[in-house]
Each structure stands twice: as C-alpha cells, then as structure tokens.
Amino acid sequence: MKVVRFFLQSALEIFRGGRVYWTWVAMLGFLALVGLYCYVYQFQVGALHSTDLGEEVPWGIYIANFAFMVGIAAAAVMLVIPAYIFHQESIKEVVIMGEVIAATACIMCILFILASLGRPDRLWHILPFIGRLNFPSSMLAWDVVVINTYLILNLIIPTYMLYTKFEGREPNPKIYFPLVLLSIFFAISIHTVTAFLFSSNVSRPFWHSSILGPRFLASAFSSGPAFMILILQVIDRQTKLKVSAKVIESLALITAVALQISLFLLGAEFFTDFYSQTQHASSIQYLFFGLEGHNHLVPWIWTAVALNVTAVFILSVHKLRNNKLFLNIACLLLIVGIWIEKGMGLVIPGFIPSPLGDIVEYSPSIYEIGVCVGIWAIGGLIFTFLAKMTVPIEIGAFRKERLSEKDPHWGKRTTDRVINVAD
C-alpha cells in the first residue's frame, strides 16, 4: 500500500509544471505524433515504399540509431561506478539521473528495433519462455536478454533508492549493492553484445573484426558522458537539483580519454584494411573514398572525423575543457560525430558491396527520418517525466513525513507544498 502511494504521488508530479515545461512536453508530443504517423504509413504501405531499405541494404538508420543508443545506455556506468563503488558524494547526487538516462536509452533501443521489424505484430515470438528465443546461438537473442535485463536493473535500482529516501530511511547496501554490481556487468555487456551482433558475421568483412567490441565501448564512453554533461547542466538550470562542478569535470575527463582511445582504434582499423588493400577492404574503401563512382557516405564519414578530431582537441587541452562553453561545443560535436561513425559509418557500409558484389547505396527516406525523430521525441518525453518524478524526491523535498505533517489530505495538491518546503 505504501509503495502504491509512493508511485501514485510520484506519477502526479508529471502533471505539475510551468509554461516552459508544458511547451517542451507539447513540442515533444507533437514530434512523437509525427513519428507515429510515419510509422503507421510504413506499416500500411510496406517498408519498400516508405523507406530506402531493400534487398541489398536491409538495415538502415533504425539500426544505426540503435547501435548509438546502446552506447548512451551503457555509459551510465561511468556515474554508477564512482557513486556506488567509490562513494564519491558529489556523483552520488546525480547517479539516479544517469540511471534514468540509461533506462530511457534502453526503451529507445527497443523502439528502434521494433521500427525495423518486418512483423512487429509477432514480437512475442522473441520473448524468452513465451516465444522461442534462440539462446545462446543468436547474438540478437543475447541482445534481447541483456538490454531487457539492463533496463529492468535501471528501473529497480533508482526506484529502490528513491523509495527509501521518500520513506526517510537509509538504503540498505545489502539490497542495492549486488544489483549495482550486476548493472555494471550488464552495462559493459549490452555494448559488447551489440558489437558482437555485427562482428560475428563472416559474410560482412567490414564488421568482422575483433576490435569492434573495444571500439564500441570506447565510443560509448565518450558519447554517453558527453550526453550526460549536457543533460545534467539542463537539470541543474531547470530544476532544484544542483549538479556540482566536480561531476561535470570528471565526466569531461572520461569523455576526453575515451574519445582519444576511440580515434586510435579507428586508426588501427583503417591501417589494417588499407595497408594490404585486399578485397575485404572494399567496404572501408567505399566508406572513406567511394567505390566505382559511388560515394554517398564519403561526406558523412569525413564530417564525423572532422567533428571528432575537433572535439578531441578541445577536450585534450585543459584550459579549453574547463571552459563551459568550449566543453559544451565539444560535447555537441562529438555526439554528432560518434552518432555518424557508429551509425551511418558502421551499419550501412557493412552492406556495401553486397556478398555478390553489388553496390546499392542507401540514404534514409523522409519517413525513416520521421520515425527516428519520433522515437527520439518519445525518449525525450520518457526522460522528462522520469526526471520530473525523481528530482523532488532526490532533493529531499518530497518525503512521506513532510507531506503528512503539512497536509493531512496528502493525496491532493502536493507539489505546490513540496516546492515551498524545499524553498
């Protein structure tokens, strides 16, 4: 009963907000509807007409976004480790935000997969126990397992932490610590498994590389923290939850080192493929320089390289990194850079040329872009709502005894009071 009340009270928070909040929610809601429209259209006329996908390139921007979002989800571990393992107080204050980002990213991953399925109505076939999951043979089955487990962990841990806070108790380490350890393991797993999903295919030489797993992790640990740097600053400005400068500083340092490693690994791959110029290098040749006059992806990948190199320069110079403006610019550049590199620059060229040597180029259609924007908007909405629910508890304004002391009918109109208490 107490728990139900807790959830109910937290959920009511979603409906309390000012003009800025509602404008933001309305905007995201509109974009989500646009995405829904595009998806319904795709479902009605078939993916052949609404997307640019086809026999030669069956995976496009949906899977590209999926590969990127898995990285964002995994990066929460960069807050979880210092907060729960090393007990860094400043990070402990925002670790729940990291977990909320991770949970949101997992849901977005699932939505992107759904968008690319030919028969989404048969989704139950893929569920463990209910359907017939090809575990442990299929890497896609592994992905289903690890992403869902990681999602559940990232819902349970923050809920438990917030509930104890709401109840005014100290969280019991015997309950949360094993879960935290598990979530660290799964954070690494989701990205490794997703990399293996690609690298396990002997039929696609471009992906068939043992460095792909480490590359995925390195890029995740730069794009994820960069994402969090930006979001935490918004949280800091828009809510009463204050984010200390130390958190941003340590995240910026992680971003810098991870991006350096990521670029190094990309260079290593570049060398291996280009030095001996075998036929297996034709995909990377297509990606960076074009093949037989086809060069759709060339501007994409060089943009990504330029963005990442600029970002790594800013992040590696202490003076620039410690300047908020430059830091934010670097974060933006590298998020876009990694998005291109892990998405358009990794998923698409794997299919070009096809195993029979056909070069069929791909660029997302307007409907595919619509669906992606919609899923990003849904992600934005989920995060906004979850943040709205958690921040008041997090800052200690929203607590059982405070509520009941001040207001005997604490099922109603709580938030105004809560905010006053906090002030």
Partner: protein
C-alpha cells in the same frame, strides 16, 4: 498471360549501376498497385466470422516444430482458406516429413551452364514468388573467364544474348549449408535445418528482423518487402508448409530445394528447366547416386569454402 521471362531484368551494363536503377524501377512500378490494393483490401474485406477467428488463431499459432499434429492440420486448413479468400484459388498444403536415409545434395556443371536463366524462371513459377518484387532464389552470375571473383560478377546481364564471348556463368542459390550461419543468427528459431539437409523457414514464425540476410555469405535469402504480388492464374496449387505456399509481407523466404517436389521423389524445378543439363540433384547417402559419382570423380569445388559453412551445393567442371 505474360511470360515471366519478360519480367526478368534485362540489361547488360555494369552490375552495380544497373542494380540501382532496377530497384528504383520496381519500387515505382509496384507502389501504385500496392497502395490501391492496401486501401481496397481494408475497405472491402468482408466481415466474415471465419476470417476473423482464423486471423486470431493464426496470431496465437505456435512454432511449426512445437505444434501437435492436430495443430498443424488446423494451421494448414486455415492457410488454405486464407489463400482461397485472397486469391480465389484452391491450393493443397502438404506436410511431408524428411524421407528416411536421405540427405539432399546439389551439383552444378559450370562448363555446361550458359546463363540462359531458365532455372530462375522455372523457380519463380514453381515457388509462387512475388512477381512485382521479382523474388528470385537463383542468381546467375556472369564473370570474366579466368577469374572466380564473385565480387566482380554481374547478375543483371541480358539472358537473350548468352553465352557471351569470354564469359562464364555461375548460378548461385541457397547452399543449404551443413553449418548454416542464418540458422545460428535467427533470434526466434524461425529457420532451421531439416534432417534431409534442407534449410527451411516457418513463414508464420519469422518476425522479419533481417538478421539471417546479414549472416548469409551467399546472399541467398529474400524478404517480402511488400504484399506478394501473385497473379491467381499463376499460382502453383501444389505446395508444402515449409516450401512454396503463398507467403506474406514482412517475412523471409528462400530456396528449399523444392521441398514440395523433392520429398515426393521428384527433381527440383530448376533442374528440370535447365536446357543444358548442367544440374544434378540427389541423395548424398546413396552410394549409387549420380551426385555421389560426380563428387568422387569430377573436379568439384564449393564457394567460400574457407568460411566452413560446408554447403551441400557443389560446382564442377568436366
């Protein structure tokens, strides 16, 4: 009635650029038809109680390998009704299991193949594949003599003017690997290898994730991007549950060594159609079979052998 041969892509230019224009063409050609079909279907579907319960039961239908005999029989009856409703055609869906002591194998004489593509046409007619999408299980690669480089091959050549001077032809289809990467990849076990070596798909279980396409080194799997376009008068009514029964949008399909024929002791349609006698099909476990003779006495090779997929499809020369 048009000859399906006419619908084959006819061009002789470089494979890569033609591949694009061909795809764009089919997109445009079928978009009008598909949109009209989709809207009329929604407007005019009779609210037939039977159709509704069939749809519900089909949704909850289990995996083919997990269904009891009665459930399979029900599923088959449902599918036959569905085809009748959609195309107005009576079809029979049989359910022959693998024959005892049979392991199918295929061999193809590349010195005899001249690239006429009769196998492709016969395959499409036999297997009820979508005509608008031109779902072809067999691709005939045209290559320069003196090279066996698949990546440099072209499978969009003009089959009216073959054989071309200085070219060789290499048909490629599902190799029915002993160690199939597609089966390993499928997240729902919707595709598997039967005891007679045939790699099949349960079209009612596939969720259309494309992961098997990604995994296949022979590019042998086809996807129904669109509601299959199948003229009723062209439907081959003799079908198998795991073979040529009419498919649906959003699922994979592939060559099944004509399971509906070969499990009844007949030969695959592509073999019967081949004008040059380049194809040999048979039971690998029978020491007196022609295929065993070829494997033991001819110069045989397999494609991409280094991948250890162990195809049950061999090429040979005289």
């Amino acid at each position: 009635m048009s000859d399906p041969n006419e619908q084959l892509p006819e061009n002789s230019g470089s494979g890569s650029t033609k591949a694009i224009s061909r795809r764009k063409f089919f997109k445009k050609a079928s978009i009008a038809g598909a949109t009209v079909a989709a809207t009329t279907a929604m407007a005019s579907t009779p609210v037939d109680g039977d159709a509704f319960t069939d749809a519900v039961q089909e949704f909850f239908q289990g995996h083919y390998q997990k269904m009891t005999k009665e459930e399979v029989a029900d599923a088959i009856a449902r599918l036959e009704r569905k085809t009748k409703r959609k195309y107005g055609v009576d079809i029979q869906i049989n359910n022959d299991p693998p024959l005892e002591g049979v392991l199918f194998g295929y061999a193809l004489n590349i010195s005899k193949c001249k690239g006429y593509r009769k196998c492709v046409t016969a395959c499409m007619e036999e297997n009820n594949t979508s005509r608008a999408l031109q779902i072809q299980y067999i691709r005939v690669l045209e290559m320069d003599k003196g090279s066996m480089n698949i990546e440099e091959s072209n499978h969009y050549y003009d089959s009216e003017t073959v054989p071309q001077e200085g070219k060789m032809y290499l048909p490629i289809q599902c190799h029915h690997c002993e160690n199939p990467p597609c089966v390993r990849a499928c997240p729902t076990k919707a595709t598997w290898k039967e005891d007679d070596g045939i790699v099949v798909i349960d079209y009612n279980w596939c969720i259309g994730c494309h992961y098997c396409v990604v995994a296949c080194p022979y590019w042998a799997r086809r996807f129904n991007w669109e509601d299959p376009d199948l003229p009723p008068e062209k439907i081959n009514p003799v079908t198998h549950y795991l073979g040529n029964r009419p498919r649906e949008r959003g699922v994979m399909e592939k060559c099944t060594f004509c399971v509906q024929r070969t499990r009844k002791g007949k030969l695959p349609a592509c073999l019967e159609a081949c004008p040059t006698g380049a194809r040999v099909f048979g039971n690998l476990l029978d020491p007196n079979s022609e295929i065993r003779y070829i494997l033991e006495n001819k110069t045989v090779f397999r494609l991409k052998e280094e991948l250890n997929t162990n195809p049950k499809f061999w090429y040979y020369t005289d």
